[in-house]
Amino acid sequence: MDVDAGTFERILTRALGAGDYADAFYERRVSRSYRLQDGRIHEAGLSLTAGVGIRVVSGECSGYAYSDDLSNEALMRTAAVASLIAKNGGERRIALPPAPATPASVYEGEPQLPTDSAAYVALLMRADAAARAYDPRITAVNGFISEELQAVVVATSEGRFITDRRPLVTLAIQTVANGKQRGNGYYGDGRRAGLEFYQERTPEDIARESARIAIVNSEAVEAPAGELEVVVGSGGGGVLLHEAVGHGLEADFNRQGASLYSGRLGEKVANELVTIFDDGNLAGERGSLSIDDEGTPSRHNVLVERGVLRSYLQDHLNASLMNVASNGCGRRQSFRSMPQPRMCNTYMPAGDSTYDEIVGSVKRGVYAKSFSGGQVDISRGDFVFMVAEGYLIEDGRLAAPIRGATLIGNGPAAMTRVVMVGDDPRLASGSYTCGKGGQYVPVGVGMPTVKISHLTVGGSAVG
């Protein structure tokens, strides 16, 4: 750690002034990445992000400043800028324990600095070979692998002083197949662990899955247009929960009355088949954190229970203003950004139906097996999600694959139309990243197979 307890005490004392709360977030993140292109390692990259972000809260107003210069003068200057929003005077001296606390770890293995180029390169080359061997129609294989270690220290004017070391690995492979048309495949997996993760989750598995999707898409037909029955696949289907519900439960939007879910705690917001958790405590998952970026331990949060809205996703600022406790959802992209309430791993537990029963019940519809992403307008509640692999369903059976279509719905409306929930819940493979207000953080999503009675499918084939 480049910044000691005494320095944190000084900058917090300088920052707080007559404010209500101040915190300092120190970060040092080292990452390595390698890119695969045309069957060879194309580029290597290293990056170092290090600095301190200082925040002062006064009522509903937050002042923020950061510095990548860790000298005492620069940090004191940064604290002074952050405190501009608070009234002068009323200096309180902040005292911290001599050393930061270490939380119980939710990561797998002992987090280490990434170092060994040969190991990353070998994994990518194995992926390349497996994708090409999968099918002769695979014409292009690209990919990347990255590993990072983020060390953080959080110190607050309430005397909290805590540290965390967060590992993260990601391996993703993009393939192109030449069939009826060129088809794109993308698949990745990662974890809050070291490279040893790819011993059980092999690069061959990941590459073959990417190649399989590319082949499917190279044979795809135009997606239909209009309202249809939609079956959302287990795992990656969790993007639905993330967009249709999760973002709308972030406390900042709700405190300000801007969300469609504002003021609806305790109300029925979904069919009673719907239960949704957000959990930062799942061992090793991509969205997991021992502590959030405000030093609050992560936990298992029940967002929706049998259709009833139970809690919002809280960070320190919004929780204080709403007179509740933070539930560990204060996250930020780096020391350059203020924390916001965010999701960790968002998922739905098992229901009673089997996959066969669900697909078998659809006369004419779409099976959206996985998604490349989604987006939501919090106030209106309209969300979209983009199908990465999808099929027509005809008379209870999967039929032709369909080309990338956007599905659109309204969050609460779609959740009342969840009419079957599968017995096959799982978390999606770990490569999802969530963006909000220009800040990107790793998240996890998961779900069992789910049927939505009607949802608008944005293909181009009419009739």
Partner: protein, 441 residues
């Protein structure tokens, strides 16, 4: 100047560690951002940040390093590790710095304005509060907000290369945006608008920004879902720019070279209607993506990408230019190829005239989603806007999608408006596509 010194040192460290070539770009950025909600300032952010990107080549093996730590010991150690990592890259004879060094010419591109540093914070806070107040006063249904922002930045960018290039320039930006919500029973209708320029003087007024955001929110009251149909679609300029961004993705040589573009092999072909003339212009005065030279030190330029529907060229950096047997077009940026004021040439009609000449169609004012499949050009987005009947806006519509194929869309653009504005790196006037699928009920 300190930035030049540290960039020079980084290049020296790379060469000392065994690199055959190296370059270093430093950016020092002064940032300001404030948010107001309901007439009160709720966020105030102000910082000075530094960052540096070092590229090292070891005989065709490329590795990059990005950092915010300018301390010499840290820099030396990481640059050495970067050069070590380059040894694991497969040598590619095409990888390396540009063949020639062109000294940066003194140009007056008007991308830096002192008014960004001069404007005092209280005036910026007042602007943010005024955006909220004016938005609320516009209509009693504007009762909530997603926040109004005023932000600016002033940056110094410096590039030093081992081949002897040394250049530096300043750039500034300012922006104002309003994000308001109209309430209609228990429904909420959001409306946003933003203005960005190289100076505060270049921005649209606080009144214009706030009222347009408020109008967009209020006009959506009563929106319903349209029936599924095929019809003409008019893209209002902000969403038209999103379509242009997809087109840029398809002419980005880094995508073309890996087979990830539907325009692969189409240079010289007619791929758009006669109205499709698209230009990338890195030298456009006051442009938001204007710069005297790119991240490799290659001079920026004006490039006609589509001329009356014919694809003339892709956009290149040095590496992908060599790969596809073309010269760099000066579009290199850290980590890729960027658009530089990439725009569809403006037409002569107003947006109102486009609407008036559409008997039955859809005007799209906002899209959500981002999954254009660049391999096939398959396009699908969530949208909201207005139904047009008899040449008039009949009623607001939402929760629908528009879908088509980029190739067909460019081929059937049958009207382009005159409302082009250069407030981002990719911009477009409003245009009409003759037929797309609108998916609703």
């Amino acid at each position: 100047m300190a930035d030049i010194d540290v960039a020079r040192d980084a290049v020296e460290y790379a060469l000392a560690a065994g690199a055959s070539d190296a370059d270093a770009t430093t950016v020092t950025l002064e940032r300001f951002r404030t948010e107001a909600r309901d007439r009160k300032v709720t966020k105030l952010e102000e910082s000075i940040g530094r960052s540096m990107t070092v590229r090292a080549f070891v005989e065709g093996r490329k590795a990059t390093f990005s950092t915010s730590d300018f301390s010499r010991e840290g820099l030396r150690e990481f640059v050495r590790a970067t050069v070590d990592a380059a040894h694991f890259v497969v040598a590619d004879p095409l990888a390396g710095p540009p063949d020639s060094v062109v000294d940066p010419a003194p140009l007056d591109l008007q991308i830096y304005s002192e008014d960004v540093r001069r404007r005092d914070n209280e005036a910026k806070l007042e602007d943010a509060r005024a955006l909220e107040a004016i938005g609320r006063a516009f209509d009693p249904r504007i009762t909530l907000t997603n926040g109004s922002n005023v932000a600016d930045g002033a940056a110094t960018i410096t590039l030093v290369t081992s081949r002897g290039f040394c250049g530096s320039y300043q750039a500034s930006s300012a922006s104002r945006s309003a994000n308001l919500i109209a309430t209609e029973g228990d429904r909420k209708r959001s409306g946003s608008y933003g203005s960005a320029a190289r100076s505060y003087a270049g921005l649209e007024t606080v009144e214009f920004v706030a009222q347009l955001a408020a109008r967009r929110a209020v006009e959506q009251c009563g929106a319903r879902k349209p029936a599924t149909l095929r019809c003409p679609v008019i893209f209002e300029r902000d969403v038209a720019a999103h379509v242009l961004a997809d087109v840029f993705g398809a002419v980005n040589a880094a995508n073309v070279a890996v087979g990830n573009s539907y325009l692969l092999g189409k240079v010289g072909s007619k791929v758009g209607s006669d109205l499709v003339t698209i230009v990338d212009d890195g030298r456009r005065p006051k442009g938001m993506a204007t710069a005297p030279f790119d991240s490799e030190g290659v001079p920026t330029q004006r490039t006609v990408v589509f001329e009356r529907g014919v694809l003339e060229t892709f956009l290149y950096d040095t590496y992908y230019g060599r790969k596809l047997a073309a010269a760099s077009t000066g579009n290199a940026s850290d980590g890729g190829i960027v658009a530089r004021n990439f725009h569809l040439a403006a037409g002569t009609q107003s947006l109102e005239q486009l609407i008036a000449t559409t008997s039955r169609g859809v005007l799209v004012i906002e899209t959500i989603g981002f999954s254009t499949e660049s391999v096939t050009g398959t396009y699908s987005r969530g949208a909201r806007g207005f139904m047009i009947e008899g040449g008039e806006l009949a009623y607001p519509i939402d929760e629908f999608t528009i879908a088509g194929n980029l190739a067909e869309m460019l081929g059937s653009i049958d009207a382009v408006a005159d409302d082009l504005r250069f407030d981002a790196g990719v911009v477009s006037p409003s245009f009409r596509v003759a037929e797309m699928t609108v998916s609703g009920n």
